[in-house]
Amino acid sequence: MNKDTLIPYIGVVTDIRQDTPDVKTFRVVSPEGGKVFEHMPGQCAMLSIPGVGEGMFSITSSPTNKEFMEFSIKKCGCLTTWLHAMDVGQQITIRGPYGNHFPVETELKGKDLLFIAGGIGLAPLRSVINYVRDKREDYGSVQIVYGSRSKDDLVDYKEIIDEWMADDGIEVNLTIDNPQEGWDGHVGFVPNYVKELDPSINKTVLICGPPIMIKFTLAGLKELGFTDTQVYTTMELKMKCAVGKCGRCNIGDKYVCKDGPVFRFDQLGELPDEY
Amino acid sequence: MQEAMINRAKQLLADGTVDRVIGWKRGEFAYDITPAVFRSAEELDADFVFDDFTSANVSKYLVKESKKEGKILAFLKPCDTYSFNQLTKEHRVVRENVYIIGIPGGPKLDAEKIKAKGITGILGVKNENYTLKIETVYGEETMPYYEAVLDKCASCKSKKHVVFDELIGDDGEVLESNRFEMVEKLENMTAQERFDFWRDQLSKCIRCNACRNVCPACTCEKCVFDNPNSGVENKAPADSFEENMFHIIRAFHVAGRCTDCGECSRVCPQNIPLHLLNRKFIKDINSLYGEYQAGEDTTSRAPLNDYKQDDCEASIVHERGVE
């Protein structure tokens, strides 16, 4: 019988990084070494600990990384609590890649890019950011606006400081919600910060974060003159099969797992407001 | 009767006593009646129905409805009043927000029983002196009324309304019912026969949860079977043990609170006689702690919530288990 997508592969966790108090980044390779499968930026994978649960997670690493995949996961429910408690060397099950991806090879090519992320929302964008960094000549300017509750809640802070900020032609704007000792950067919510920064309306926007942040940022972008067709986001809903059959993530005539998770805002506008 | 109910409901809406009415709404056929809330005289005139098929117990809807603003008129049959009283006792309904009109009970009809006779294409059902004249696509059929009566009505326990603000029609009496007959029959079986009986019945279960969701005693905000942390939250039976346990655990949970309204069996798409599990508990409570009818009043302590020095010892389970 042919391989069935519901039957997972084994992945080995080779590195665990404590990113923030409630976010850890897990490095996963196949037992034979190397990546379990290839993916595109924005795609997801189903990770599971049999007996605990299975869940859909964004693949945080860039496809240009040829050695391993990474997943930044926030401790939230039953499965993620288990994942946070495990040690290096633990095997997990993994299947994918699932869903569509950011149109890095088509619509985004040659464009000036504006990434806007809040909290764990950086996870799916990190894949695109690093993809773009590795294929720098294919894209225009890159601006990243990233905010979190506090400095400690900024995911991938080290990578942002050591690598992204060190790159030529990448502008990184960090912000935290409230003033904090040891932080001399911007303080304030992401939507307001974006408006303050007043980015050029020629940019293509990729946004991910809490729904409330997305809502207000989008409103702000529109005030600045951006249109729905310029803004991409990635969504999350309950998923079980990840291939558009189990019915969980159905909104309108779309399945977030299969037709998403990446949507342009004009596409979302055609869907019922059920997310 | 239907006309009297509609007229009284209109009066109560008009004089502001209530602002909603819960009753039954006409369907596509003679028998597919839906519980519904009516908000105006026009809605009542258009769709309100009370006939031989209006069997649904609307008490459970009052858990939600009685917490809304304003007062609601509820038409309750005798059996429904027991459910309502029990819900009042458990502080699930707000009594002050419900205006209760007691209406006569059944025996109500079961469309499935008509269909089981091979009568299909039903277009209309008329009761003429307790003979059903059934108009069908294939011509007229007749059958005795009592052969099409719902199981819950065939073993009716009471024609008495235990709670009401007013009555339409007369109040009745608590009946000498035969409702424990089948329980006794099951008790007289050998353990193996009984096990086989229940295995046969419960293996039909499709875990649709209709019995639980319709049950006026099942009003937990979050059922243990819907809670992923409980370890028993499963929509599919992993094995036959589990398939049985869902119903047995449910029967335990409603023991002493089940008024024997019979809705569980009425709604079961697989016709599992679930009420027999509850009746076994009722019969046992009666024999171990003295006669008790849940929902009869709103103040007494239920036997399983009460402690008396002469309560039977736990060993009773062992003693009774010896064949």
């Binding site: - | 294409g121 319709v214 992993a238 709604v267 798409p269 016709n271």
Partner: protein, 339 residues
């Protein structure tokens, strides 16, 4: 057309079941019917349809997908799939037969569900034309002819004999396998029976239900309808409609720890259930209105949008007779109909 006399049905069933597993609709004690594995002496039910649909054969209520062995930090994935045995489902009605093509669109689209396909490949669907449709039937609304059912092979009864007609190679193979029991028969009486059935179908109370107001292009219009509040008001939130429905195919995946390994199951699920879309951090469908709406929107709008206008309902009428509060797709269609 090849036929067999009705009084020789026993011999027919014996012959089929001698080479492969046979399922037929059989009567239960309570007068309802269900599909049962044929055993000698079992009689074909006269009931119009079974309580549970025939979808169980290809998409069972519960099935084991995969097993895991956990040892220390290591996990072993055990593929427990086995080639299905060959089987015949006899007496499937036109509505259920169509439901398979609807389920195919879900499970056989990429990526193909191997569990479903395995059973589909090994199952032969032998349908039986209806002669006594019920008041709850409205298959005609979805372009189904109850007097000429689909399936690998179809059977027609004229009251004395059953006639056989193959629709594809699988059906022909089935008829060939029983050909020694069949004889050539005159279909004059059968044609009359079929005409009569079609006359009845036209006269059924739900014959006029139309799909005109529905389809993929009516998405927002119906989604935002104010009617949903009233329609869903008394919904109990149970899964009866979903589980008796031949086309409902949403499922859950669950793990069970058996004590010596983990079994991963797939089981039917219902969008009517409160936890269907519940996530660790919230639930986008908080009330029964949204859940109720989802089920009907999926059948009448979302499914046709993705499947060239085909609706996710076959008009079998099971939800009409089984919903505890008698709320169903017909009432929804009538309420939402654009006049």
């Amino acid at each position: 057309m090849l036929k067999i006399s009705i009084d020789k049905l026993d011999a027919l069933f014996e012959a089929i079941s001698a080479s492969q597993t046979l399922y037929i609709p059989a009567d239960r004690e309570d007068g309802s019917a269900e599909y049962k594995k044929y055993e000698s002496g079992m009689k074909l039910s006269n009931a119009l349809n079974t309580v549970r649909s025939a979808k169980d054969f290809f998409f069972p209520q519960t099935e084991n997908l995969v097993d895991f062995k956990m040892e220390g930090k290591n996990i072993e994935v055990i593929d427990i799939r086995e080639e299905s045995e060959d089987f015949v489902i006899f007496g499937v009605r036109a509505c259920d037969a169509r439901s398979f093509t609807i389920l195919d669109k879900v499970f056989l689209s990429e990526p193909v569900d191997s569990f479903y396909k395995n059973r589909r490949d090994h199952g032969t669907v032998v349908t039986m034309a209806c002669t006594r449709p019920a008041e709850t039937c409205f298959c005609g609304t979805f372009g189904i002819d109850a007097a000429a059912p689909e399936g690998d092979a179809a059977c027609y009864s004229d009251g004395e004999s059953i006639f056989f007609e193959a629709h594809n190679d699988k059906g022909q193979k089935f008829i060939d396998s029983i050909s020694s029991l069949l004889e050539e028969g005159d279909t004059a009486k059968l044609d009359a029976v079929r005409d009569k059935t079609r006359e009845i179908l036209k006269k059924l109370p739900l014959a006029g239900i139309s799909t005109e107001s529905f389809g993929g292009d009516k998405l927002m219009e119906h989604f935002n309808s104010e009617k949903w509040a009233e329609l869903s008001e008394s919904c109990l939130g149970c899964g009866t409609c979903t589980f008796v429905c031949p086309t409902c195919q949403c499922y859950d995946i669950k793990d069970f720890n058996t004590g010596h390994g983990i079994k991963r199951f797939r089981c039917w699920d219902s969008c009517m259930y409160s936890d269907f879309t519940k996530m660790a951090h919230g639930n986008p469908r908080l009330t029964q209105l949204e859940r109720f709406r989802q089920r009907f929107m999926h059948k009448l709008v979302y499914f046709p949008s993705n499947n060239n206008g085909e609706f996710g309902c076959v008009g079998c009428g099971r939800c009409l007779s089984k919903c505890p509060i008698s709320m169903n797709i017909v009432k929804v269609m009538k309420a939402l109909e654009v006049k």
